[in-house]
């Protein structure tokens, strides 16, 4: 057998858990500083921001205007039922809103944080009862369904509430990522460290923003997530989102699958490691399935600068969605980096040994989870053909 050429098997480095913890504790970024990394992260977040804008609008539309609609056939049309819009939809000239739904379902299923706790509370059930009572008056199908399956409509409302909360979360993140692109264009953000700081500041600013949700039924407004529930942006939605989508499970269709019967999947959801930071950007099996719907969407909104960078790499347009996915993972490591940096229990420059130990334990816990993630993308050369 001939020797496999070295350029075909070049591999990026993978930092150990200790190295990752050390970087977090000294305030270094996880993603290496490199001019191309900056372009990748800022531009892919810009395209992601534009996609999130559409996702956010649609999720909020679905939660408010398609509430308890048993056949929401037109839920992706944002209320525009013109023939031109329907034709574009059928012709797949559109954003893949299914991806946003999958993320909502991941959040709902993994259910962590304050939002999930409130969705299981008696107060929430009371809210559900009130709105179901009103809704079933004029909807015979729901009137039959509710007594037959008493848990069905409350579960549908839980899904609607998560949909709305995710829409609100992405509204903030979309604006943040688009602002980041403007800041980079103006020169105020010129490094990966500055990107992480920018995102961290944005998250901290929005941390206490309230999350609420009301629906209108026959002219009356009903609270589903009332302000008095005290749900806020960071703790109750952002953190559960990161846990569900970044760490536990992300719907990257077409990537490597796992066999539960072969014990490849832990029965403990908390042990799941199939999120965005772990996902394989290379699709497996089924020629023609794209890496994910998200990559298709971001490709539609790809900035010219990043597009030109991709054209110079590997297969140019041929594997552009894989490259988007790899850049997306880099950017998600930056977002995770910002979230970790913003939630250390004590300031990193503290001289108190107790505070240092607490920070150390916090960093170690994150590093242990991240050490088995796709950290090879943190290497600046990982997507380049070595010369």
């Amino acid at each position: 057998m001939p020797v496999i050429p070295a350029e075909l098997t070049y591999s990026g480095g993978r930092p150990s858990a200790d190295q990752l913890a050390a970087r977090l504790l000294v305030g270094e970024t996880l993603l290496a500083e490199h001019p191309e990394h900056l372009v990748e992260v800022v531009d892919v977040l810009k395209s992601y921001g534009e996609v999130l804008d559409a996702y956010s609008i649609n999720l909020i539309f679905q939660a408010e205007r398609q509430f308890l609609n048993p056949f929401p056939v037109f839920r992706f049309l944002d209320g525009d039922l013109s023939p031109a819009k329907i034709w574009r939809h059928l012709n797949h000239d559109r954003i893949n809103f299914e991806y946003a739904e999958y993320c909502m379902k991941a959040m709902l299923w993994h259910g962590t944080g304050g939002l999930d706790a409130y969705l299981d509370s008696p107060a929430f059930l009371d809210n559900c009862r009130a709105v179901i009572q009103r809704k079933t008056r004029r909807d015979p199908l729901l009137a039959v369904l509710d007594p037959l399956f008493p848990g069905f409509l409350p579960e549908a409302i839980r899904a609607a509430a998560t949909t709305h909360a995710l829409g609100q979360f992405w509204r903030v993140m979309s604006d943040l990522f688009l602002d980041l692109a403007k800041a980079e264009a103006s020169g105020s953000v010129a490094s990966i460290a500055a990107v992480v700081r920018f995102i961290q500041d944005g998250l901290v600013r929005a941390a206490a923003q309230p999350i609420s949700y009301a629906v209108e039924v026959e002219g009356n407004s009903y609270w589903i997530l009332p302000p008095e529930a005290g749900l806020t942006f960071l703790v109750d939605v952002a953190v559960p989102y990161v846990e569900a989508v970044f760490l536990r499970g992300m719907p990257f269709l077409g990537t490597v699958s796992f066999n539960a019967q072969a014990q490849q999947i832990s029965p403990d959801q908390a042990q799941f490691a199939y999120g965005a930071l772990y996902a394989d950007p290379l699709p497996t099996m089924g020629a023609g399935i794209p890496p994910s719907l998200l990559m298709q969407d971001m490709y539609r909104h790809l900035p010219d600068r990043l597009h030109a960078l991709y054209r110079r790499r590997s297969r140019s347009e041929g594997d552009v969605r894989v490259k988007i996915c790899m850049s997306f993972q880099k950017s998600m490591f930056c977002v995770t980096n910002a979230a970790i940096a913003g939630t250390f229990p004590h300031p990193l420059d503290s001289n108190d040994p107790v505070a240092q130990a607490a920070n150390r334990a916090y960093a170690d816990a994150w590093a242990a989870r991240l050490s088995v993630a796709r950290t090879d993308c943190l290497d600046p050369w990982s997507d380049r053909i070595p010369t």
């Binding site: 057998m1 020797v3 496999i4 098997t9 950007p281 290379l282 023609g288 297969r315």
Partner: protein, 505 residues
Amino acid sequence: MTLSLLLLIPFLGAFLLLLWPSEPAPGRMRAIAITTLALQLIWSLWVLFRFDPSLEGMQLQESYRWVASLGLDYRLGIDGLSLPLVLINGALTLVSAVCTRDISQRPRIYFALLLLISAAVNGAFLAENLLLFFLFYELELIPLWLLISIWGGTGRAYAATKFLIFTAVSGMLILGAFLGLALLTGTADFSLTPVLSDRLAMGSQLVLLVALMIGFAIKIPLVPFHTWLPDAHTQASTPVSVLLAGVLLKLGTYGLLRFCLGLFPEAWKLVAPVLAIWAAVSVLYGSLAAIAQRDMKRMVAYSSVGHMGMILLAAAAATPVSLLGAVFQMVSHGLISALLFLLVGIVYRKTGTRDLEVLRGLLNPERGLPFTGTLMILGVMASAGLPGMAGFISEFLIFRGSIGAYPLATLLCLVGSGLTAVYFLLLVNRAFFGRLAITPPSPDPVSDSRLDIRLAGVALRETLPALGLSLAVVGLGLVPAGLGWLSETTSTAMAALAAHSGGLL
């Protein structure tokens, strides 16, 4: 002159290349070779146009006295057995030249040898004189030896020498049988005369037939004379493998039908039961050996051993249906094996390996070789004899035509045909399904799912020859009547000859 042009065109092209003044660019020499071979193919199609399939004898015959004292006459003719092979020679030599790229080492000689081989193979298929056939049979030997030993892989010297020794022995046995036939019949006329052997005692016929049989069994190749083939394929470049599998092996099966069955129909009847068992052993051995391979090219080479064995079964049965199936098998195996070697060549060029323990997930739509993988799946389906493709027609005809005469051998060959699906599914499953990788599997899931796959994409022009062959494989599978129409009269006549001579029917 119609048939002579099938020899003259490639011969003149070869001389043109050799005598071309100064040192033209490799691209120009490739263009000359492709133009010449395209002309040859067009002329082959013209011959097809002039051919009358309803006649059972040789057509468009040409005859010139050459060395009368030796009995060597320049006599050419074509019938329903040789015409499909001439066509496939024209097509596959052209494919070989088209898929030869980036040849920097002695391109002038390379393309000239390619043209010489094509001319010699045409000559062998058209020769109506035994010595003339032998001359052309030997003429393709040296160019092919050079193609392997100069442009082959790292073990080319061993493989080329082995090929040379085996096929030289094959040539000697064939020449010995031809000379023995002339000596024992007391005639210096080496023309293709089926009834010549009637004058011989059965013992003499058997001796001559066995010598001839072994000579062609080496070329086909049949177990146990097959060992040169996997080595030659492994070391040969892709275009040479295409030629070897697609065209040159057919010289052996052509000889089997034309000379072994054609010249010794009476003795054939006696040895046919043994030949049927030999065919079953060859088919089963080739298939089982293919399962054990980890080199994709060796796997395809062993599959050839298996599939060529089926032609021996068809010849042993010698019924009109089985002989028609043999012709179909020669054509379909030529197309399918050429397709598979082309695709293995693409995989090797892009990944640097053919090791099934190393390659995985090449069907990956983004960074793998998805179109190559798609054609590979089509190719292995055709080779496994799935309906709708060329392999099905030929295997069905062979099995249908042989089962009455040799049910056990036919059933064993059917098992061998089933094993084709086994080893080719192993190939597809290992190399094309799963997560893309070109590294040996590792127990570490992290390093096992690396992102750093940097295979260059396959340009459309690189897959065009394979695409053309794929279309031909499907076309022949869906519309087999054309080839049947061409060959049926000849194969029926051959079967009648066998039946008339004491017969198998």
